[in-house]
Amino acid sequence: MKTLLINTLLIISLFAGAPALAQENSLRVGMSGQYFPFTFVEQDKLKGFEVDVMNALGKEMGRDIQYETANFSGLFGMLQSGRIDTVANQITITDERKKAYVFSDPYVYDGAQVVTKKGNTEVQSVEDLKGKTVAVNLGSNFEALLTELPYADQITIKTYESNLERDTALGRVDAFVMDRVSASQIIKDKPLPLELAGPTFSQITNAYPFHDTEAGRSLRDEVNKALAALRDNGTLTTISQKWFGTDITKP
C-alpha cells in the first residue's frame, strides 16, 4: 500500500516536472502558421521567415525550438498562461504590450500599409479610408494604429482570424491594413487581385515578447545575444533576402 502511494506520488511529480524540464533545453515558440510569408504551412511543413530566423536562433543558442501553432487570437493567451516562452509572429512593440511583457531587440523594421482590390480608385492612401470599411487581423497592432488616426470614428474596422486578403479581393471590405513586406509578397506570389495604396503610414518594429519574470528576462537576454550574432554574421540579412528580396531586419 505504502509503495503504491509512493509510486503514485513519483509518477505525479514526474508529470508535474515535465513542463519545467522541457523549458531547460528547448524554447517553446508560438506562431499562427497563417501569416504568409512569415509563417505558413505547405504540405504539412511549417515554413516562413519566422521559422528560418527561429531555427537559426535555436542553433546559435544551442536550444531545440519547439513550435506550437494556434490561431493568432490564442497566442497571447498561451504566452500568458505559460504554455509557450515567446511568440514569433511579427509582434509589434507597443506601449500596451510593454506593460505586460519584456521584448527582445527588434528584428524586423516595417511600416503599416493600406492594400485595396486592384483597380480601386477611391482609396489611394490612408487618408482615403474615411467612411470606408477596413479589415485587420484580430488582436494585431494594425487595429490600434487605425483607431489612433484623427478620423478614426469615420472608419469601420472589421477584424479577421484569417482570410482578410481574400475578402478584400472579393470586395467585401474596401481595404485591409497589414505590414508592407508581407502585403507586397502576397501581391507578388499569390493569385489575388490586390494592390498597395500609397506609402506606409506608420513605422513598426517587431520583436519577441517574453514573460516579465526572472526566467523570461534571462531568456530574452539569451535571445538578444544570439540575435546580435546572427545580425553580425549576416544570417538575418540572408534570410530576409530569401523571403523578401530586401533586408527588413535593419531600420
Binding site: 508529470f15 508535474a16 515535465a18 513542463p19 508560438g30 499562427s32 502558421g33 497563417q34 501569416y35 504568409f36 505558413f40 504551412v41 505547405e42 504540405q43 504539412d44 511549417l46 515554413k47 506550437e68 501553432t69 494556434a70 490561431n71 487570437s73 490564442g74 493567451g77 498561451m78 500568458q80 498562461s81 505559460g82 504554455r83 484569417s162 482570410n163 486578403e165 481574400r166 502576397i186 499569390k190 493569385p191 489575388l192
Partner: protein, 224 residues
C-alpha cells in the same frame, strides 16, 4: 472565375488525412466520457438524489447555457491564470474536458427523457412479478430507454465530431487547424476547405450507417 485547382486538392488529401485520427480521438474519448457523465446525471435527476440533484441542475444549466468556445477558453486560458499549476492542462486535455462537459449536459437531458418516457405500466408489471429495483432498471427500463435515446445520442456524437474544429484556437492542430494553415500558405481557400468538408461528411455518413444498423437491431422486438 478562377479554375478549381484539382491537383492541389488531391495533394492535400493525404496531408489532411494525417490529422483525421486526432479529430476522431478527441470526439471518441469525449463521447465515452460524456456518456458516462450523462448517465450519472440522468440517474441523479430521475431519482432526485438530494444535493447531487441540485448540483446537476446547476451544472447542466451552465454547460448548456454557455457557448462551447467560451468554456474551452475558460479551461485552457482562464484556469491557469487563477491556479498556475493548471498550466499542465494541455490543449488536447482542455478540448476533451470541454467537449465532455458541454455535451454531457445535453445528453443527460435526453437520457433522462428516455428513461421517464418508458411507460409506467412496464414498471408496474415488472414489480408485480417480483422484480427488484435493480432488475427492473436493467431488464425492463434501460433496454427500452436505450432504443429511444439512441438517435439523439448519435446526433450529439455527430455534433461533437464537428465541434472538435474549435480545438485549433487552443493550439491543437486537428483536421480544421491543419486545413486553415494549409489554406493560409496557398491562398486556395475553397480547395482546402472543400477537402476538409468532404472528410467530415464522409465520417458522419459512416456513423449514420452505424446508427441505422444499431436501430434495426434494437427495433427487432417491435417488428413483425
Amino acid at each position: 472565375m478562377d479554375v478549381l485547382n484539382v491537383e492541389y486538392m488531391l495533394g492535400l488529401v493525404p496531408v489532411l488525412l494525417r490529422y483525421l485520427p486526432l479529430t476522431l480521438q478527441l470526439a471518441g474519448i469525449g463521447m465515452v466520457l460524456a456518456l458516462i457523465l450523462a448517465c450519472l446525471f440522468a440517474v441523479v435527476r430521475v431519482l432526485r438524489i438530494p444535493v447531487l440533484n441540485q448540483f446537476t441542475i446547476v451544472f447542466i444549466s451552465f454547460f448548456r447555457g454557455t457557448p462551447l468556445l467560451v468554456q474551452l477558453f475558460l479551461f485552457y486560458y482562464g484556469l491557469p491564470q487563477l491556479f498556475s499549476a493548471l498550466t499542465v492542462i494541455d490543449g488536447i486535455t482542455a478540448t476533451v474536458m470541454g467537449l465532455t462537459m458541454h455535451f454531457s449536459a445535453y445528453m443527460a437531458e435526453s437520457i433522462r427523457a428516455a428513461i421517464v418516457g418508458v411507460d409506467r405500466s412496464q414498471t408496474e408489471a415488472a414489480l408485480s412479478i417480483g422484480m427488484t429495483n435493480g432488475q427492473l432498471m436493467r431488464r425492463i427500463v434501460l433496454p427500452q430507454a436505450t432504443r429511444v435515446a439512441l438517435p439523439t445520442l448519435m446526433n450529439y456524437f455527430i455534433d461533437m465530431i464537428k465541434a472538435t474544429s474549435l480545438a485549433f484556437t487552443l493550439g491543437v492542430t486537428e483536421l480544421m487547424g491543419a486545413t486553415q494553415k494549409e489554406a493560409a500558405g496557398s491562398f486556395l481557400y475553397f480547395e482546402a476547405f472543400i477537402v476538409a468538408a468532404l472528410m467530415y461528411w464522409i465520417v458522419v455518413e459512416l456513423l449514420s450507417k452505424l446508427q441505422n444498423y444499431l436501430e434495426t437491431r434494437l427495433n427487432k422486438a417491435y417488428n413483425r
